[in-house]
């Protein structure tokens, strides 16, 4: 008699979690790590500081851009965005690796056996957060640069393209970090890969060397994005630059989905 009330629910049609439920769950996981908001605040403030500083003192010679300093060059200086890129990649990796290091992944996969949906929900949360950060850094940095550089130095063409490509760049880094995290499953290992790929390779490879180095550098998100902002040194066409960024993001999601789906845990 007393167990009766439960029975109808158990016998009823199986309920599938809605995508919004999965996103909400991933959202909670994402923010429940204390260091996530700290890291985001640090990254955004460092990037805004660098944008303001570039506007005052000029950009790095190694960024490759020459000519008079204008707000767009100052706000989208490639080197100043490297910490944000690495940070986004690490946040993406943490979203995946954190589950493996605590063992939460087993519960997650038991609760939602359709793993593809988990990957998509996680990717959606990570994309939304890093995209928001990119919007703040890009638009805020440009506004700061315009305010600081009073001289009649016109903004390069396509300031909106620069902001949109940045909104694509950071989520791309985060999704790539997520893919590495899924493949490696080990915090230190995936962090090393993210740092090497987004921090070291842009410094090491330039699209000004020989054919091989140029092609390899142009395939990196850093240079594709640099081509779109007009402040970097990528040497491809605009369409190819968009395609490169999109391909990185798409490939990362596909790798995450496949890797998670094909393994036991």
């Amino acid at each position: 008699m007393s167990v009766q009330p439960l029975a109808p629910r158990l016998r009823g049609p199986r309920k599938r979690a809605r995508p919004a439920d999965l996103c909400a769950a991933e959202w909670i996981k994402f923010w429940s790590l204390r260091s996530t908001p700290t890291a985001l605040v640090l990254l955004v403030s460092l990037a805004l500081y660098l944008a303001a500083n570039n506007s005052r003192h000029g950009v790095l010679p190694m960024a490759g851009s020459s000519g008079p300093l204008n707000p767009q060059r100052a706000a989208f200086d490639g080197f100043s965005w490297l910490p944000a890129m690495i940070g986004a990649g690490l946040i993406g990796a943490q979203a995946m690796v954190g589950e493996y290091s605590t063992g939460l992944i087993r519960t997650t996969l038991a609760a939602v056996p359709d793993r593809c949906r988990i990957s998509v929900a996680k990717a959606a949360v990570v994309t939304a957060v890093t995209g928001g950060a990119a919007l703040v850094i890009g638009a805020g940095g440009l506004a700061l640069a315009v305010a600081i550089i009073h001289a009649p130095s016109p903004v390069d063409a396509h300031p909106m393209r620069a902001i949109w490509s940045s909104i694509l760049l950071l989520p791309t880094c985060a999704l790539a970090g997520m893919a590495f995290g899924t493949l490696v499953r080990h915090a230190a290992g995936s962090a090393t890969v993210v740092c090497a790929l987004f921090g070291f390779i842009p410094i090491m490879l330039r699209p000004t060397g020989n054919r091989w180095a140029t092609d390899a550098a142009n395939a990196m998100p850093y240079y594709a994005w640099g081509r779109l902002t007009g402040a970097g040194t990528g040497t491809m066409t605009v369409a190819v630059a968009w395609a490169t960024l999109a391909a990185w993001a798409a490939a990362s999601i596909v790798i995450t989905i496949l890797a998670l789906d094909r393994r036991d845990v």
Partner: protein, 266 residues
């Protein structure tokens, strides 16, 4: 008779052995080291391979910048620092640190043993990478530049200092790992401090050009005479300051690690 252990301290040798087992049992350590050596070897060949020296102009070139390229060795140093950070954050991540500190309540001795084992590993790694770089670049530059063998004083000095660079990096990594304790953040911070910060400081963007002189890699460039003569030369410390710096970085790191670890609960 043997059922109860000797009272009193564990010998230092036992601690070293324990730390060595911990490092050895981590599979990825070996992969990281092999990758580092391969990277150094390929980079040295790449650097040497692309040099074309006009006949008679060899005296104007400093041959040491090819095996001991600044960027390559910055990367090697960061890899070593990653390794150092891994050895300590790994313990925090797995929870092994609690067992370690319960077993050996004298935490400073644990840290000392760990630092020593990591330093020895990195010395071996640095030595292999350094010698491989020297001889591979020497081979790639055959007939163009000479002076790339251990028989030459300058090359010997550069080889030894370059072998010491990963040791120094690993101690910095341990300190950052002890401070942050979370593997991902610690490694992010390590790369930021050792790779991005010096470049940013050197740029003049931040307006702290003199602070670059204090970075470990600048001291190494002064002492090993491996500074490139490119357009974007970063400021270097004078020789005496460089010696002090290259000793002060690992010592300060060790002190930071020991202090942090003893001041906290776990």
């Amino acid at each position: 008779m043997n059922t109860h252990m000797r009272a009193g301290h564990v010998r230092f040798g036992d601690l070293v052995a324990a730390e060595w087992i911990k490092i050895r049992s981590l599979r990825s350590t070996f992969g990281l080291m092999v990758f580092g050596v391969l990277f150094a070897a390929v980079a040295a060949w790449w650097q040497g391979h692309h040099v074309r020296v006009a006949p008679g102009a060899a005296a104007a070139f400093n041959p040491l910048i090819y095996p001991y390229d600044q960027l390559t060795w910055a990367f090697i140093t960061v890899l070593a620092a990653t390794f150092g950070a891994l050895t300590i954050t790994g313990e925090y991540a797995s929870g092994l640190i609690r067992t370690t500190f319960v077993a050996v309540p004298a935490r400073r001795r644990v840290i000392l043993a760990k630092s020593l084992v990591v330093a020895l590993c990195m010395a071996v790694f640095g030595l292999i990478a350094s010698l491989a770089s020297l001889y591979i670049a020497g081979y790639a530059l055959t007939g163009q530049l000479s002076g790339l063998s251990l028989g030459q004083g300058a090359a010997l000095r550069a080889a030894i200092l370059s072998a010491a660079l990963p040791v120094l990096g690993s101690q910095i990594g341990i300190a950052i790992g002890a401070l942050i304790r979370h593997p991902l953040s610690a490694i992010g911070a390590t790369w930021g401090v050792l790779l991005l910060l010096p470049t940013m400081l050197a740029s003049g963007t931040i307006g702290l050009g003199t602070a670059t002189e204090g970075m470990p890699l600048s001291a190494w460039m002064t002492l090993a005479r491996t500074a490139s003569t490119g357009a974007h030369q970063s400021p270097l410390p004078p020789s005496t300051a460089a010696w002090i710096l290259i000793l002060a970085w690992p010592l300060a790191s060790l002190i930071v690690t020991a202090t942090t670890v003893t001041r906290r609960d776990v």
